[in-house]
Symmetry: C2
Subunit: 319 residues, 2 copies
């Protein structure tokens, strides 16, 4: 089996620079610990948790693995400070922040010797995260599932531009679901990858079986971007997504869009498995996901694919 | 210097699997022959030419290079048949078709021993092109400049899915402007790349100096996608693009959009250099383009970058 050593494996003290995205309703202690136990970096997604539930998941994760893991915290949440405090109190040493200004909590996180990573959709926000004191950034392209940046920059275009603009290492996210994508990201200058959709479709993911089935059935064309005016999101096409598309095409106003979106659509889709009316957040890499695997099998598969793609490059390109 | 050998270098009998996109107002005989003379595959972009002008460019290209070159033909043009006939009559042996059904002219092209390549934005259209008898496809992601597919699939997500679905080789396009991007595309399983924006900003490109300047000044966030209802197009932000964005957000109707678009906006922007009211078609890779180079210097730079990125991968990944 291959070994991979980058600034990201050094920074997090993990075997492989493969990070499982912190996702709502998908990544509790079970998925995060499985990823960490297999040599990647697992993240508990606190976006769908109240602070006390997060505390339970952190404790369970510490029981399930002695390897490093982290917590993803969406900074725009009203109770983000409580999530941050729980994370610090429970002794987690890695925080991925998203959706908000990383400056807000950087001082308290760094005082507690926490490695801080911010998810950014463009060079502009990458520079801001670096200036704020983040240790690394996730550059996330618009092919990613869930929330996206308004400039809709793709991973392939974003990563080399981030790498050229920042001094801190860059993790690539969006559109990556197999070893070929990982090798492509490294080729662009990234030091690691973060994958969401692929990990959401593992045995250990707490997503509903209906959600996993929809990802597996999806082709390359089966996701849409919608809700540009109130927070761009990528999801799998279904009846709800069709309505969102009509709303987008017809130029609905913000309040109309908020009413259509309603509340807890993610929970309905991802956790409760409502295939028609739920918001099934997933990326364009859904078309690459053909089966539900255990995290252990997935890691073996990814490493084999990286090796194969790497050997193919060596065959094609000669000195 | 490295050598690169793939199914695409074999198919076109070229040294490097690097194709210069056929672009309106940019790629006449001068650019195409320079690319072919430097070991890539140059394409004359017939999209902005009347049939008799195309004939002149083909003749001039044959005078300027003894290497293979091709012609790009947009099949939706009213006089596409005339462009096809001129191409056949003048003895060009490679045709890249786009924007339309490749079935339309495949028989006459194949009867004349012409290698036919179709540009596709999704797996669905890739399968159609293969079934029609195309020799290879260009899989073009939504980060590309100019016209794009409605499903807005990115290069990173599209290429491995095309590779898995087709038996013919795949050329990757969209978001690629340096050696890192080329190596990333090969890692995804592509056998070659097509680059537009980067070649549009060479000395030999017939784009107006103002257009080249705008590309060089652009950051990762400086292009937008607009005109979804009448033909999705990516262009650099300017006053015209701002109006197009407002139209998009407000959900304007098709006829209103057509009126805003008007006629010959590409010519105004790319050829005449109207920076504010012209349509400056360019991709998200604009942010990677920092200088105007000769095609010769660009090829040297690309090959060096591929080598560097490849060496970095070899350092990171060990057996």
């Amino acid at each position: 089996m291959i070994s991979i050593k980058t600034k990201i494996t050094d920074l997090f003290n993990v075997k492989y620079p493969i990070i499982q995205a912190g996702m709502v309703w998908v990544s509790g202690w079970k998925l995060a610990s499985a990823v960490s136990n297999n040599g990647g970096l697992g993240l508990i997604g606190s976006g769908s948790m109240k602070p006390e539930l997060l505390r339970e998941h952190i404790r369970d994760c510490f029981s399930a693995t002695d390897k490093p893991f982290g917590v993803n915290i969406p900074l725009l949440r009203g109770d983000a400070e409580d999530l941050v405090n729980v994370t610090i109190e429970e002794g987690v040493k890695i925080v991925f922040s998203s959706a908000g200004n990383p400056k807000k909590f950087i001082d308290i996180l760094k005082e507690n010797n926490i490695t801080v990573v911010h998810v950014v959709p463009s060079v502009k926000f990458g520079l801001k995260a670096e200036a704020a004191g983040c240790d690394t950034v996730v550059g996330e392209g618009v092919e990613a599932g869930g929330h996206n940046g308004i400039d809709e920059i793709t991973t392939l275009a974003l990563i080399p531009q981030l790498v050229d603009s920042l001094n801190i290492p860059v993790i690539a996210a969006g559109g990556i679901a197999d070893g070929r994508g990982i090798l492509a990201a490294l080729s662009l200058g990234a030091d690691g990858v973060q994958m969401g959709t692929r990990f959401a479709t593992t045995v250990e993911s707490s997503a509903h079986p209906n959600y996993k089935k929809k990802v597996i059935e999806a082709s390359d064309s089966d996701t849409i971007l919608a809700f540009k005016k109130i927070g761009l999101v990528r999801m799998i096409k279904n009846e709800f997504a069709d309505k969102a598309k009509v709303a987008e095409t017809e130029g609905w106003k913000e309040e109309e869009l908020r009413e259509l979106l309603g509340k807890k659509r993610e929970m309905m889709g991802i956790f409760e498995g409502n295939e028609t009316e739920g918001k099934l957040e997933a990326g364009q890499s859904s078309g690459l996901v053909k089966e539900i695997l255990t995290v252990e099998s997935l890691f073996k598969k990814l490493l084999k694919e990286i090796e194969e793609a790497s050997n193919r490059n060596d065959k094609i390109i000669k000195d």
